[in-house]
């Protein structure tokens, strides 16, 4: 079957090899999903690539891995296909080139938005407030009024949701995932929440060598749940503000603060672990052209978490203004670039797991 890119063509070749072998069937969802097909469309291959959690087990277990002449390197090729699939389905199409330069775009976005926030703080209020806001009663709202924050970040968040949803819709259609039931979503939710398939089928997964001692699952849990806790902190604070008429700042023991502190810790330790794991990852498993996107996404999360924690710790000092500018620029950059970078992996993988649950259910029923 002809394919639209060299990576997809190579993935098709590998799936033909793997489907003839099937030794890796017990390692993860990719191989059982593959076994249901004998020919693979681009959508099927993108589905398989997004099912792959990059645990690396099939590379070390494969008798045909390089240097064997059959040159079977499933994790690397699927990583390539996966990264390309994010661009292929992105909306609007004009933004797709961002993927190739995601790292640079992030750095630029951070710098520009940081500068703009600083400038805004200085221009919109008393020039001295940047270093003195911690003495004001409204604290950071002295630098940027609450309504302005809501307007800016609400708009950015709305854009992110729209663009990510449009991309996911295209991915979903291309992978032919009709007839997914609530139970399938339940199964996919469990597998995504637990990262069921990031353990090499039981013995653990691999990163820098052939020992199954990788801890990316832990780092990912810290990052993901840290992110969710931070998101929850912001949501609870919004409810406090509008529904309970309790504007920020909050004491450390109040719910938004507790959620934010816990989430911030996760969002610092998790990304640090992930960055270290990425740095040490076996060269054979890397999809090198896309590493800017991978690193950039984690770095933005790290800056978001660290600056948030910094605000909690140093919010009573003159650092409040600069830290707020850093935190807001990280969050804004995150929102604006999320549809065009690694962020979408979570949604696509969830959708791939949902289709997988549907396919397994149908295979079981038939």
């Amino acid at each position: 079957m002809p394919h639209s890119t060299p990576a997809l063509t190579e993935a098709d070749r590998l799936m033909t090899v793997c489907n003839s072998c099937r030794y890796c069937e017990g390692l993860c969802a990719v191989f059982p999903a593959m076994e249901m097909k004998r020919a693979f469309t681009d959508g099927d291959l993108n589905h398989l690539a997004n099912l792959c959690h990059a645990c690396g087990a099939c590379y070390h277990d494969c008798q045909f891995a390089p240097p064997h002449e059959f040159d079977v390197n499933v994790p690397q090729v699927l990583a390539q296909v996966r990264a390309e699939s994010y661009a292929q389905y992105a909306w609007p199409a004009a933004a797709r080139p961002v993927f190739a330069r995601h790292g640079q775009v992030l750095v630029l976005g951070m710098i520009v938005s940081f500068a703009l926030f600083l400038a805004g703080f200085v221009l919109a209020s008393d020039p001295g407030a940047l270093w003195a806001a911690h003495r004001e009663p409204g604290r950071f709202y002295a630098l940027m009024p609450h309504n302005a924050m809501i307007a800016l970040f609400g708009a950015a968040f709305g854009w992110m949701v729209l663009a990510v949803a449009m991309g996911a819709r295209a991915f979903w259609r291309d992978s032919g995932a009709s007839g997914v039931l609530a139970g399938d979503h339940g199964a996919a939710g469990r597998d995504a929440a637990r990262l069921t398939y990031l353990d090499g089928g039981g013995p653990g997964c691999f990163n820098e060598d052939d020992m199954p001692k990788d801890r990316r699952r832990l780092w990912h849990h810290l990052t993901f749940y840290g992110f969710l806790l931070c998101f929850a902190a912001t949501s609870v604070a919004t409810v406090y503000h509008y529904a309970l008429d309790r504007p920020a700042p909050y004491a450390w023991w109040d719910l938004p603060a507790l959620l934010g502190i816990a989430g911030g810790i996760g969002l610092v330790i998790g990304p640090l672990g992930l960055l270290d794991a990425k740095r040490r990852r076996l060269a054979a498993l890397r999809a090198t052209p896309h590493e800017g996107m991978e690193y950039g996404f984690v770095v933005v999360l790290l800056v978001t978490g660290a600056s948030g924690l910094g605000l909690r710790i140093l919010g009573e000092t003159g650092m409040l203004g600069p830290l707020l500018a850093l935190h807001l620029s990280a969050v804004l950059t995150f929102f604006l670039t999320a549809p065009y970078g690694k962020f979408v992996h979570g949604l696509y993988r969830y959708l791939a797991l949902a289709r997988y649950a549907r396919d397994m259910r149908r295979a079981h029923d038939s």
Binding site: Y23, G26, D61, C62, Q63
Partner: protein, 461 residues
Amino acid sequence: MPQWDVLVAGGGNAALCAAIAAARAGCRVLIVEGAPKFYRGGNTRHTRNMRCAHDHATDTLTGPYSEEEFFDDLMRVTGGNTDQDLSRMMIAQSKPMLDWIQQQGVRFQPSLGGTISLGRTNSFFLGGGRSMLNALYRTAQGLGVEVRYEHEVVALDIEKGHFRSATVRHPAGTETITAASFVAACGGFQADFDWLKEGWGGKAENFLIRGTPNNRGTVTRMLIDQGVRQIGDPSQCHAVAIDARAPRYDGGIITRLDCVVLGVVVNQNAERFYDEGEDIWPKRYAIWGRLVADQPGQQAYIIFDAPNIERFMPSLYPPISDPTLAGLARKLDLDPVRFEETITGFNAAVIGGRPFDTNHKDGNTTRGLAIDKTNWAQRIETPPYYAYPVRPGITFTYLGVKVGHDARMLMADGTASDNMFAAGEIMAGNVLGQGYAAGIGMTIGSVFGRIAGQEAAKHAA
């Protein structure tokens, strides 16, 4: 005092089981593996399961498989050509092996998709043979076993059945290694075509070797030349029919074809030569290597039609296809007239009438042919027509060294060696005089490997 308690030649399942057993008994163990690290472990890399007796169904096995049934299966596939006492001992030891091998880090899973008929008898390795091997290496190295890759045994110093030392060649030169006990677990000789020709003549030129190119039997030859008793003849081996387009070495599982029972098999004269419906895969898959080896040019063609294309496990190379029988014959370089006669003659003789079912002998036969197909006979009548060219694919050879129940080598003069042991393919001929049953090579490797390691340790103590 020798440098090592136990020296193990080879780096596959048998070698690792021996090394682990000896290390657990407190020995200092050295493994010398001829291959580089990626290719370590010879044919174990290509395996996927082992056949062990067991009393009950487990998480990964669908039902019991008694020692008696295992023995009956072995007697059937070997035609009784086995050392029955030794085989009974191995089968009895295969039971505890299921637990022991898991204690060494190996994990099992239910039988793979497309291999459901082995789900009761054979334990499949999670992640396949290389994964299993990696687990054994991690365990061995955790126990302090030293492993040296690209270290090939090139000479043995043996005196009256007593091992003194091995000379090993490696990238930096050669060295002599002394050890109190020696375990030979370095495979068959199937990659040595000259040796294969001693059994097969010029036919061997057309054979493909399914696994490692490193198994040239050099240690086997040294042992026999220095007084160890030979077992088996050079023509006996585990051979299946594999895709003729496979590379000469190391094509592994993905070049096998499970579709013989779905159609007919013809030789270069466009004639059938054996009952394709004799029994279900996997009971008879291992006879087709020898059958094809006896055909002209050591090549044959599996022929079937459109409805069967998805009834078997896919394989690496696509089938050759054509909308007409004559067109297919031309693509295969067969005489189209003769080929059509064979197929139409076959079609006319099909009685059929029963439900087609490849899980059981379905009784759909032909009648009146010189060679009838006794099950799964169905007309080859719906285009496109498909063909796979096949050649003999040698998995491993059976000629090797004679051993006793303690895996100790026996000498040609009837005495037992006091410190030389063997396990795996190098002594498989003790169990397999001929024929093969899926997964038994790994049973031989694990059971005799463990025993060899334990006995080698006892001698070294």
